[in-house]
Subunit: 249 residues, 2 copies
DNA sequence: GTTGATTTGAACAAAAATAATCAAAAATAA
DNA sequence: TTATTTTTGATTATTTTTGTTCAAATCAAC
């Protein structure tokens, strides 16, 4: 039995069973585990199977895995940013929090503070429901995709409040074009929040710096403080500071 | 059984059941709790599940807020009432739903209808987030105890809308004194909803009939239809009908 | 708030799987 | 036939995964 014959049988078995183990194949093909491993390495290199510890699996079963959820990306950075942002908050503050995933990471760090949070984000409400934080929910149409509230009523709602600090996320930001968004709704809401807050904090991981989205809606000056992660390029950070943004990390 | 295979099974289980616990998975996959935890950490990092204390949940419905123990009472009656109430709803309707637990039981029966629901109840929002229902969330102060939104802004929000039907719950109702509530907030909100709806449906299990709470806030005539359970006394039902309420069950 | 029970994550040890090495066997070429 | 290359399997060292224990964190109930 040569490699070509084994290859066929291995592929066939993997396809039938979905997942196989090395000793299993060794037994089936009457050969050693070492040989099976070498075969699997080759097949995996060719992309015909997915190599696992102890065996192999069908490729298509694995393909679902990668990035199903945007909010999963850069979790570590987001947490670091959120933690830094939480340091800015003082007891008694009234905060705006928008529906960005980075902003949502603030929740664990503010659970025990005596503050008021005004938000349109359902996950934020959910996470702070059993906390010492006083909550105010912005009303309006529910965007199921973003798990957040948008629309005319939301804008009017915000206009009735004032906050000490607004924590906002953003789809894109650049020195040349300022803030940009993927949709009208997000842009409108961000503007409304910024307008009604004494101090605007933009929470934004460094990968988003100097990226533009399709809708430019505000100049850099809308932002008072830009909180990002330590991966930020030093020269770039200086450039933002020159532009009048208080960049910290 | 390697990580990849466990991963598949975990995702499948979480998706089927909505929520799982660590020991449950450990038993199911014949492995230790520690291994399950490590798996869950990875899956959560990839954003495929939401990690909770003791287990994991589907990412979509992290909003799930277990209703207080109150909702456990008379579940059977409440479901029967809700099912009867759902029959009144037609495609295209715009509904108000208040934050009562009986009203919340409507959700399973309206998931697939093409209607718009305006509500101040967080559990209702949560249950309908993945449904064909268009949602409008009433904004204002969040009452953590009742998992609902109240206050001035809520009242103003409601005043801006009009619904075909309002489904409301109540703390007390009697022929002699009409509707009564345990707090100003509930009373105010109920009134606001009733005012803006063409038809007011009161969902109320029979045990609440002829009970008075401390705040009387509206006459019986506020209610167009009273939906209750089959346990209701026949003579009492007739008395309500005499008083002009369309009582059904 | 404080207590008490559970859950968690880190550290370590054991087990399993892998890759590297090397010698023997098989296939190929000279 | 003999020399050379390739493949294979055994041995060993390394890596990966897993399970246990325990202190710290978290939750829930009071």
């Amino acid at each position: 039995m040569n490699f070509q014959q084994r290859k066929q049988l291995i592929l066939q078995t993997v396809d039938e069973r979905g997942a196989v183990e090395v000793p299993e194949l060794a037994d089936l093909l009457q050969t050693s585990a070492m040989t099976i491993r070498r075969d699997l390495v080759q097949l995996a290199a060719a992309g015909l199977i997915y190599r696992t510890h102890g065996g192999a699996m069908r490729v298509r079963d694995i393909m679902v895995v990668p990035f199903a959820n945007k909010s999963a990306m850069n979790v570590v950075h987001k947490e670091a940013i959120a933690q830094r942002a939480a340091q800015e908050i003082q007891d008694g503050d009234v905060l705006f929090m928008d529906c960005g995933s980075t902003v949502a990471h603030l929740c664990p760090f503010i659970r025990n503070k005596r503050i008021t949070v005004i938000t349109n984000s359902l996950p934020v409400i959910s996470e702070l429901l059993n906390s010492s934080v006083t909550l105010n929910l912005i009303g309006g149409e529910v965007d199921k995709e973003r798990q957040a509230v948008h629309g005319t009523m939301a804008g009017e709602h915000i206009a009735r409040y004032h906050a000490d600090r607004a924590f906002i996320g953003i789809d894109g930001i650049s020195l040349a074009n300022g803030l940009s968004a993927n949709g009208e709704q997000e842009a409108q809401l961000t503007l409304a929040l910024a307008r009604q807050a004494s101090r605007v904090y933009l929470l934004c991981d460094s990968s988003k710096l100097e990226t533009d989205k399709y809708l430019f809606f505000a100049p850099l000056s809308l932002v008072d403080v830009l909180i990002t992660d330590a991966q930020v390029n030093v020269d770039l950070a200086d450039a933002y500071r020159q532009a009048g943004v208080d960049l910290i990390y």
